[in-house]
């Protein structure tokens, strides 16, 4: 793998803020972005004048029905009169936005960058799936009138078949994450549920049932990144971005191994190499893998090399991924519990690591003074892996 390892500046997360995640927010997209951004600035005592550039993550224009949606949002994201960049890689956006912010600072161009991710999914009627449908190939797939759930159901079934997994093995993720979310002040779908509740929920596209799936949500999250010198002036508790990694697989998704996210492994290997991590299973203390569906958390834990292939469900059943387990996974409550305003959900995972590694996660705090955490997101046509490793 070829990437530059020298001449880059160290980058820290120094502040974070977020709104509640809700099914439909009264606030506009700009208002949500403004709240999250102000909270992030206030959390580290910065003013907007201290920010050199703004990186924004939000869905493609068709989703909001607003052409140039990034520019529309920019005023609420603190970008007036500043260098501004918006990128979107589907569900992978939240972590990718941090990667963008990281290279803005690591390169030496800016000392402080505001990273904002916002999603208002409720505007798209009757269901935001209408905007997602155009992801399918217009010549070979859309004439079959596909449903977005198909793609996840097909991947989940392949994963189950390959390793002989049952729905019960997978449902425990939904139970764990919705329970973890009980302690999150932004949570939309926190609940004490049982494996039986998941197995008895409405079948949407077998093997996907209602409680296997995260909700659609409105919400925003923001973090502040700073160079080493700036970070040390701003806070005595900087959380360093130790490394980043990202990778894209082919758009010919029916030609891929659907049982294993190869692109996540490649993204993870880039991040591990950059951070000098040799044994991820021992050196990562908390993980926030992307969990829009319960099976995806397991899929991603395997792709991140934090569980052997096909064995994440066994480790889950043994309690390894519980908040007080050996490798806490999704202590925030994740997309399944806190909610899934797509780009914002991925950035929420980075914010969670920031609070956890500073020991500020309150009732969600993982015990044992965790020092290194990994956040990962996934998206596009099931083909992008984005990874950030944070540490203190």
């Amino acid at each position: 793998m070829a990437f530059r390892r020298t001449g880059l500046r160290r980058v820290a997360v120094v502040g974070a803020g977020m709104t509640k995640f809700v099914r439909r927010a009264q606030e506009t997209a700009q208002e949500l972005a403004f709240h999250a951004s102000r909270l992030a600035l206030d959390s580290c005592g910065l003013r907007i004048q201290d920010i050199g550039a703004v990186c924004l993550g939000t869905a493609p224009d068709a989703f909001d029905g607003v052409h140039m949606n990034g520019e529309y949002l920019s005023d609420g994201a603190g970008a007036y009169g500043k260098p501004f960049m918006r990128a979107y890689v589907g569900g992978g956006t939240g972590v990718f936005s941090v990667i963008q912010g990281w290279y803005h600072v690591a390169s030496g161009l800016f000392d402080a960058v505001l990273v904002v991710c916002e999603e208002k999914m409720s505007s798209c009627l009757p269901h935001p799936q209408a905007a997602f449908l155009t992801i399918f190939d217009h010549t070979t797939e859309r004439p079959l009138k596909p449903n977005l759930l198909w793609i996840f159901a097909l991947e989940m079934n392949r994963y189950m078949q390959k390793y002989g997994l049952s729905k019960k093995d997978i449902a425990r993720v939904a139970v764990k994450n919705k329970r973890n979310a009980m302690d999150h002040p932004a949570a939309q779908l926190a609940a004490e549920i049982t494996v039986e509740d998941v197995l008895n929920s409405e079948v949407l596209a077998w093997p996907v049932q209602r409680l296997d799936v995260s909700p659609t949500s409105d919400g925003a999250v923001a973090v502040i990144l700073a160079s080493e010198d700036a970070a040390k002036r701003i806070t005595d508790k900087p959380v360093w971005i130790k490394s980043v990694g990202w990778c894209l697989d082919s758009a010919y998704w029916t030609n891929r191994d659907l049982s294993y996210p190869e692109y996540v492994e490649r993204a993870a290997r880039m991040a591990y190499e950059m951070a000098g991590i040799k044994e991820p299973r021992k050196e990562i203390h908390i993980v926030e893998p992307y969990d829009p569906f319960d099976y995806k958390e397991l899929h991603h834990l395997e792709g991140l090399l934090l569980a052997p292939k096909g064995e994440a469900p066994r480790l889950l059943a043994e309690g390894v991924f519980d908040r007080d387990g050996d490798l806490p996974a999704t202590p925030s409550g994740g997309l399944l519990g806190v909610g899934n305003p797509i780009a914002a959900a991925g950035l929420m995972k980075v914010a969670e690591l920031f609070w956890q590694l500073r020991g500020e996660a309150g009732k969600r705090q993982v015990p044992g003074n965790p020092r290194t955490g990994l956040a990962q997101a996934w998206g596009d046509l099931m083909q992008v892996g984005t990874v950030a490793i944070l540490g203190v």
């Binding site: 927010a25 269901h127 070979t140 449903n147 097909l154 030609n255």
Partner: protein, 168 residues
Amino acid sequence: MAKIVRELPGLALTPEDISQRKVLSTSWVPKAEYAWDAGIAMGRYLEELRNGRLMGVRHRRCGRTVIPPRIFCEQCFAPMDEWGELPDTGTVNTFSICYVSWDVKRLEVPEIPAVIEIDGTSPRVGILHKLGEVDPQQVKVGMPVKAVWKPAEERNGAITDILYFQPI
């Protein structure tokens, strides 16, 4: 976080807030139509579907034979070398039994989308299609299937010239 903010911003609306106009909103229905050119590779693929044939492309350097066709090998980033007819048979790589429409309305008859690995291609190379003439409970991964075509006079050069795949 708790030491700075006690209550996070974000006001959750209920369906009644909207229907009773307690909060205001405006709406718009877009009208946007598109016509996508099939292009070079897909153009020939569709032509041959009209003739009742499935076509793949092969790249000699990496030895891959893939479907749907493309003019380039995306892994080697070089032009594909040759076209070849593939059998209209394959195996089920994975499937779903789908009970809802895209906007989550219940379907009377479930659909069975599947990734079908087409015989004669490289490992795991498949296409998206549906299964038909099969009891959903009997569908298995690894099941051999064959295309069921529209009658020749009804075919118009589209993926839907194959009605579905059926177990053999």
